[in-house]
Amino acid sequence: MIAKTSPEIGGMGHSIKRKEDSRFIQGKGNYVDDVHLPGMVFGHMVRSPYAHARLKSINTEKAKELPGVLAVITGEDLAKANLAWMPTLFFDKQMVLATGKVLFQAQEVAFVVAQDQYTAADAAELVEVEYEELPVLVDPHKATDPGSPILREDREEKSNHIFHWEVGDKAATDKAFQSAPVKASLHAISQRCHPAPLETCGCVADFNRATEKLTVYLTSQAPHAHRTLFSLVGGIPEQNIRVVSPDIGGGFGNKVPIYPGYVCAVVASLTLGLPVKWIETRSENLQSTGFARDYHMTAEIAADQNGKVKALRVKTLADHGAFNAAAQPTKFPAGLFSMCTGSYDFAESFCEVDGVYTNKAPGGIAYRCSFRITEAAYLIERVVDILASQLKIDPAELRRRNFIQPDQFPYKTPLGWTYDSGNYEGALNKALEMVGYAQLRKEQEEKRKKGELMGIGISSFTEAVGAGPAHTFDIAGIKMFDSAEIRVHPTGKAICRMGTKSQGQGHETTYAQIVAQELGIPASDVIVEEGDTDTAPYGLGTYASRSTPTSGAATAMAARKIRDKAKKIAAHLLECSEEDLEWEPGKFFVKGAPSKSKSIQEIAFAAYTNIPAGLEAGLEAVNYYDPPNLTFPFGTYICVVDIDKGTGEIKVRRFVAVDDCGNVINPMIVQGQIHGGLTEGLAIAFMQLIDYDENGNVQGGSFMDYLIPTAVETPHWETGSTCTPSPHHPFGAKGVGESPNVGSPAAFVNAVVDALSHLGVKHIDMPITPWKVWNVLKEKGVVS
């Protein structure tokens, strides 16, 4: 039970207004492109127009001669410092600047540095590069065909196959399939898309020759990890590197990898002794930075005649582009894709994933994906609908029959996950009630008689966030703990720093609310800072919805250490023993004599002015939190669509989202996260695709064709919640930021397929554009 604090204190559950808003609404945010340093110069990347080609020559003379140009760096220059290649976050390496060949359109080939960005752009055009085109591979299914070009000549094994990964009991699963009376299957593509935060990636690298200190202002979701990697890769002593992530204009996983532009800017700054700013354009962002998804998946369910599932078999082909730059924990080449058993009680399961190279931009883990749980949840929620349709069982009912029940938690899945808590039926029931499900099904029946197309789609997802326990989780070797440091001032105010880094999630408010909850110091008296590696304790950053489960927990633990010390001070001040004291948020009081109390503010003052013997002065604590498990938020989303038979357009009439993330810090902020994620899910389901033609030319490489929904396309979102706390988290919370991206695509797609199911339609791959719908209607003879 979480004690309720007053609105003045603003602890858990209060929708206090955000403390960070003040500067943003006045246009006084400090994003990386706002950083201006004396003497600052500008970098511009020269990129390959070809998807696969030998690099015959690079002539930088004309570019260097342009007045105002300070340097033109090529792969050859970097190779001298052993920096032409850099390690990726997943056991591979990628070219910083191309040497020998280029492997994807828009790959980095040379870096121009000039006095201003206009001159840099002009100079970039003057760099003369000679290419010899090579055959292109864009179809991942052809990657291991004997006739296909081998892309990575740098690898010992001359193959486009990167990895094979499997988990689960294959024999037992196959056996279950053999004896199952009912089987349903689905081939589905989770298409390549891109997180496209509104602020693109960039940095200002500032090497000070006098102090030998390198400061990098960086669009980074993980500043400490980046600092360590810069040190290891660049050979710069780690104490001499300071990474500052100032305000970040959205991350969504796009700002986790290290990009060639960062490395080039650092090298340029080290060489020139000047601050070097590099900010990529939107087109560069879409065409070269970490994409998301590109999973080609087959799922099979074995079940009985009542729709009770027995086994799940999954086989997936993963397209990683030219380099495996997926940002995921090292033990998981397919991220947490093995969460694909979802909310259902499968006795057996087997999952295998093969990763391949193609002539496309590198990456794979991004766009609020919870390390591939977006792909997994989409798959299971679609194939469960296929099963329901096959057996003519209502999709809500089929889910109900298969949910893991509340008394089964902690629940171990056949693929190795131990879910902490859940009440899936509770969320489903609430969503069904909110949307008026029974009435909608009646309406659908009526409409079908008139030839009108209306669909209802359900998604009852479970996901896993808060990576993660040291025994299982590390990124590039660094364990995935996280941290919080709290210091209380004599006047009872506090400053905290965490190892995470907000890109809009509201940490300056929510962490303050955790402190408010634990110590009773009003949230408005608590300053929260993140992102400066010189001051913040080491952490792995913010992505995969991990902040509340890790740093949030660390904050509570640190606060509790402070409370323990505060109790000693209180006992000293009240001249009693600690056993005589009770706590309520904001004060210790003597049991049975509540007027004999000391507020946290009085205690803080005493920590500097009236310190008990044997205790150090001050009132502060640090905690590095190793979570015992991930946390498992869940929910049910229900989408209602109407389809225009003449144009194929899909209109989302209603969308109900019931989320359960355990105990909530700030309901307003959670709701905002849901709105935003659902909007991204809508875009993924209906609008977004990064595609390549057979020559490897990227299609959809700018905002003209990579479509971001406006307020007009975005429907009104109806949100609700249930609360099933995490039993292992210090205040019972789970992460939530990615739930909407994880859960919603299936709801959208299920709704459209449901609208067309009476015509015999079983599946349509995302993005479900109007022309795809129209094609189906034409095929079925239904276009008006």
Partner: protein
């Protein structure tokens, strides 16, 4: 993102602008709203050596009825079209069209003249002007000349405007009584070009028979398409459901869309058919309400 260098000139009058066009020849380009030209310059797809900014020339922005025509100044902004009481009350087809051009910020700068002069079949006004039987007034060294809209669009990004001419006015014959028009556009999202769009304008006689009809199609050919066969079919007939359906099919057959990220050929033709139906139906409705 960064355009290449250019020389910037800002004439105060049309003759001054024309003289500049003559002086600088192929190097020069007119800058009016800039909402098509500047993005192309930023991508370095357009590299004019000289930009002639005509935005400060007064007397080129108006919407008025005069001498049997609706006259629109070439520099009239799309936002001005949207808020013009004349357009709103008497020319809903023009309001329909202006309203779906790009987004609010773009409409504050983009001009009707520019929307035609750019010669892009994906722009919205061309099809509407085709449906309305408009005339383009081009002003050059020898003064004004009138170019019927049917002769105006020559090929992709090429119009009948001579290099030293500026599009200074668009004239639309004021439609007779019992006229109505509408513009229907399907786009992937607000701000996109049309996947396909249809402008339909018709005039009925007292018996409800189609006296005149104009149908223009957006982004389904290298120029805006005048659906002549569809027009011919409807002329002299009552625009009932069956006739409208047949006309719509003919319009679809006359379109020559290219496949692209917005959809394949068959879909776009299907859209032309559907949107022609909807545009004609709405035009018919509006003709009954005494609107033009």
């Amino acid at each position: 993102m960064i355009p290449p260098s250019f020389e910037y000139l800002r004439p105060k009058t049309v003759p001054e602008a024309v003289a500049m066009l003559q002086q600088h020849g192929d190097e020069a380009k007119i800058l009016s709203g800039g909402q098509s030209l500047i993005p192309m310059m930023k991508l370095r797809l357009a590299r004019p050596g000289v930009l002639i900014d005509i935005n400060r020339i007064s007397g080129l922005s108006y919407v008025k009825e005069e001498g049997g025509y609706l006259k629109i100044g070439g520099l009239t902004r799309e936002a001005e079209m949207e808020s013009s009481p004349l357009v709103r009350s008497k020319y809903p087809i023009l309001l329909d069209t202006a309203h779906v051009i790009a987004d609010p910020q773009v409409r504050n700068m983009a001009t009707v003249g520019g929307n035609l002069a750019h010669g892009d079949p994906a722009n919205d006004h061309p099809a509407t002007m085709v449906a309305l039987g408009a005339q383009v007034i081009a002003t050059g060294p020898k003064g004004e000349r009138v170019i019927p809209i049917e002769d105006f669009f020559v090929s992709l990004f090429a119009t009948a405007l001579q290099h030293e001419e500026i599009l200074t006015e668009i004239r639309i014959p004021v439609p007779a009584a019992r006229s109505g028009g509408a513009y229907f556009k399907l786009e992937r999202k607000v701000g996109d070009f049309a996947t396909a769009a249809v402008a339909a304008q018709l005039t009925l006689d007292e018996k409800g028979v189609c006296q005149s009809v104009g149908i223009g199609l957006t982004n389904v050919g290298p120029t805006p398409v005048k659906a002549r066969k569809a027009e011919e079919f409807l002329r002299g007939k009552k625009p009932d459901e069956s006739n409208i359906a047949q006309a719509a099919q003919l319009a679809a057959d006359e379109s020559t869309p290219s496949p692209d990220l917005r959809g394949p050929v068959e879909y776009k033709k299907g859209l032309v058919k559907e949107l022609t139906k909807r545009a004609l139906t709405r035009a018919l409705e509006r003709s009954g309400r005494g609107l033009h």
